[in-house]
């Protein structure tokens, strides 16, 4: 079965650079979530989209922005990168009208390292 696809898997950037992370949800899933997991930490919710509109906003810095496109894929844009942005970034998708209520399915993540 198709899963959530994230690219790239690894990304190395320098301070003050920009980065773009991509997420392709499971087909027919209409909601996408972004989470950030720092070293030894639990995943923290950043932002979500439902039917291409921002749905919820969590602890996303102002330097970050995201959007969901007409094909339902989503991109997380990160600017003025800081050392503290080094983390695993997970995307999850969900079918809002699905039987499985709020089961979110996660991608393998993008490991961002800011040097």
């Amino acid at each position: 079965a198709a899963g959530v696809i994230q690219s790239p898997r690894h990304l190395i950037k320098e301070k003050r650079e920009t980065a773009t992370l991509k997420c392709y949800p499971i087909p027919r899933h209409d909601t996408v979530y972004w989470y950030q997991q720092g070293p030894g930490q639990d995943p923290q919710f950043l932002i979500s989209f439902y039917e291409k509109m921002q749905s919820d906003k969590g602890s996303i810095p102002d330097r970050f922005s995201a959007q969901q496109f007409s094909d339902y894929h989503s991109e997380l844009n990160m600017s003025s990168l800081e050392l503290g942005d080094s983390a695993l970034y997970f995307c999850a998708s969900r079918h809002r009208g699905g039987v499985g209520k709020n089961i979110q399915y996660f991608g393998a993540g993008t490991r961002l390292s800011v040097l």
Partner: protein, 114 residues
Amino acid sequence: DQQVKQNSPSLSVQEGRISILNCDYTNSMFDYFLWYKKYPAEGPTFLISISSIKDKNEDGRFTVFLNKSAKHLSLHIVPSQPGDSAVYFCAASAINSGNTPLVFGKGTRLSVIA
């Protein structure tokens, strides 16, 4: 403040025995709970969930128990297998309040010893 707490960072269990992972929450608005398993270099994999209208949900070797009055849930794995060794995250959401993002605990690392 941590709204979902997994107070045991690690747990070791003999193969074939029961693994019990615990999770406590503080937000009484949470009404849907999930357990995820995570291997290194992979994303969290959904295991099992439970709605607040139930107190037990079972799926094969995995059973989740929910005690709403104590704001406590637990995941039982019986029998435990070496392949179950992973980090287990408890997560919660408040769906009926329209709040669907998951709030995670810090995880418990389970080691199943052969």
